[in-house]
């Protein structure tokens, strides 16, 4: 029991010390650049000043963070639901697939920042245009990964299901969809980080709240510490949402995580041996 716990801790340390060390090194370099005066302070504020600002202005930042998070999550959820439905339709109908694919691809390659102003013209300065840009950003990876997942199911498994006679709905619910979940989660993780970008892009184009607005304001005022603080908070939002999905995946697909885990530990064991 005791050795179990120390083993677990050793595992955590083993996995985290490298990224933590890298982060510390980056902070140190950042600090050195600013204290030695290599770069003017108004161009790059010191880490101390930036984090000091994060603390001082936390209530101001918190309000805007909340707005951006709300737009991101709403956009992500809509993209997730629509993306999965779209993927299911495409997998079950050749016609829908061949009709939708070119449009989907076209919608994906249009630079979102270029069409965002259009949504502002149509929908005003509220949260709607931001959510739409977030949806547009997040939709594509969800569709692609779900289609891949639904198609990855073993044909023998589907043939077997046909001999069991459960019909297409049961086959989908019990076999096809669960089999697609690992791919779906991979897509969702990419999608959530893109949804953050989408929401911020939407805010850049026309808004009076949200982290995109904070950054734009700070930019206008040459307030680089606030600009840096805004960037850090946006990144933290993205990382946090990603980690939440990672956790959801581990809880919902223990069979997948454990297999992956086993493979990785075997590799590590080989590597250290």
């Amino acid at each position: 029991m005791d050795t179990d716990r120390t083993d677990r801790w050793r595992g955590v340390v083993e996995r985290t010390w490298r990224p933590v060390a890298l982060l510390a090194a980056c902070l140190a370099i950042w600090h050195l650049i600013t204290v030695t005066g290599m770069v003017e302070a108004y161009l790059v504020p010191s880490p101390a000043k930036t984090f000091g600002l994060l603390v001082d202005k936390w209530s101001y930042l918190w309000g805007h963070t909340w707005v951006t998070t709300y737009e991101t999550v709403l956009g992500f959820v809509i993209a997730g639901v629509l993306g999965v439905l779209m993927a299911v339709a495409m997998v079950y109908s050749r016609t829908i697939e061949s009709t939708a694919y070119p449009i989907l691809l076209f919608a994906q390659v249009i630079p979102k920042i270029a069409i965002a102003p259009l949504f502002v013209v149509w929908l005003g300065f509220g949260f709607e245009p931001k959510v739409i840009v977030a949806v547009l950003m997040a939709f594509f990876p969800v569709v692609i990964s779900t289609v891949t997942g639904l198609k990855s199911v073993d044909t023998e498994m589907l043939e077997l299901a046909a001999t069991m006679g459960g019909g297409p709905v049961k086959t989908f619910v019990k076999i096809r969809f669960p089999a697609a979940l690992p791919h779906l989660f991979a897509g969702l993780k990419v999608a959530v980080t893109l949804a953050v970008t989408g929401a911020v892009v939407g805010e850049f184009v026309g808004s009076n709240e949200g982290l995109g607005y904070v950054i734009l304001q700070a930019n206008g005022n040459m307030d680089t510490p606030m600009l840096f603080a805004g960037l850090i908070v946006i990144s933290l939002v993205g990382v946090l949402l990603f980690l939440l999905l990672d956790l959801a995946e581990k809880l919902m697909l223990p069979w997948h995580a454990s297999r992956r885990g086993a493979a990785v530990t075997t590799l590590l064991a080989k590597g250290t041996a």
Binding site: E156, M157, E159, A161, T163, M164, K170, K174, W255, H256
Partner: protein
């Protein structure tokens, strides 16, 4: 001919041909094959790789339509996927997120069987195939032989009158394979199911079957049907030692050597 003197065959393949159309070529996998399997009979099918054995089983299950000829299963012509069979593939094809027991019960869920009844039956099958203690293990925690046993249990759960097996033990080591042969033989004797088994192992084909059907190279036609003259109750090593066993396997080996063109 789907009937023989008034008794309905369990499986009747009547003058069936299968052609696969691809972009440039047309492949004839099976040419005018006729096979009759009596109810409760165990028939093995052997033949060179790629000759059309899997195709034959898919025809019987209705997963594939013949280009010509008819297939009749339990007195009813096969026109689409049939539900009154059990199918075991070469790979176990298990759902990796379901435990052994829940993989077996998939059969019941898909069919909407009474769950208490299905649970009881799954328990019996788990016991019979020696999977006790591994009911809750996930497929990746099971050995290849155990996975194949789970697939066998799943195929037997709904007590099908016809069991189709496509090289079910091909991936197993020799010893596990022998054990599985003995178990399958016992299951067959206890349940009275009609079995069609595709295999690459000549010994397996003879040990298990009443009749062995030898197919030729593609396009497959029936080369010869060998009646296996062995007692119904077959101890593994005693059967191996019998002269009838030796002569049957030698004969089949000769036939296969001849059909694969090493003559």
């Amino acid at each position: 001919m789907s009937t023989t003197l008034g008794t309905t065959s369990a499986v009747a393949i009547d003058d069936v041909s299968v052609r696969f159309q691809s972009k440039r070529t047309e492949v004839t996998a099976i040419q005018q094959v006729s096979i009759d399997v009596a109810p409760g009979e165990f028939v093995s099918i052997v033949g060179p790789s790629g000759c059309g054995k899997s195709t034959l089983l898919k025809l019987v299950s209705g997963l594939l339509k013949p280009s010509s000829g008819t297939v009749t299963l339990l007195g009813e012509q096969v026109r689409g996927p049939r539900h009154d069979i059990g199918f075991v593939f070469q790979r176990a094809a298990l759902l990796e997120w379901r435990s052994a027991r829940r993989n077996i019960l998939l059969q019941a869920e898909m069919r909407g069987m009474n769950s208490a009844e299905a649970g009881r039956r799954a328990g019996e099958l788990i016991e019979m195939t020696g999977l006790s203690g591994f009911e809750n293990a996930l497929p990746h925690e099971l050995s290849g032989g155990m996975q194949q046993r789970v697939a066998l249990c799943r195929a037997l759960l709904h007590q099908p009158r016809v069991l189709l097996m496509d090289e079910p033990f091909g991936a197993l080591d020799a010893l596990t394979r022998e054990q599985m042969n003995v178990e399958l033989h016992r299951v067959w004797r206890e349940t009275g199911t009609t079995v069609l088994l595709v295999t690459h192992s000549i010994a397996e084909s003879v040990y298990l079957a009443n009749r062995v059907i030898v197919l030729t190279r593609r396009p497959a036609v029936v080369k010869e049907v060998i009646e296996v003259d062995l007692p119904a109750e077959r101890d593994y090593s005693a059967t191996m030692a019998r002269p009838e066993f030796a002569s049957a396997t030698a004969h089949i080996r000769d036939l296969l050597g001849a059909v694969t063109g090493q003559d």
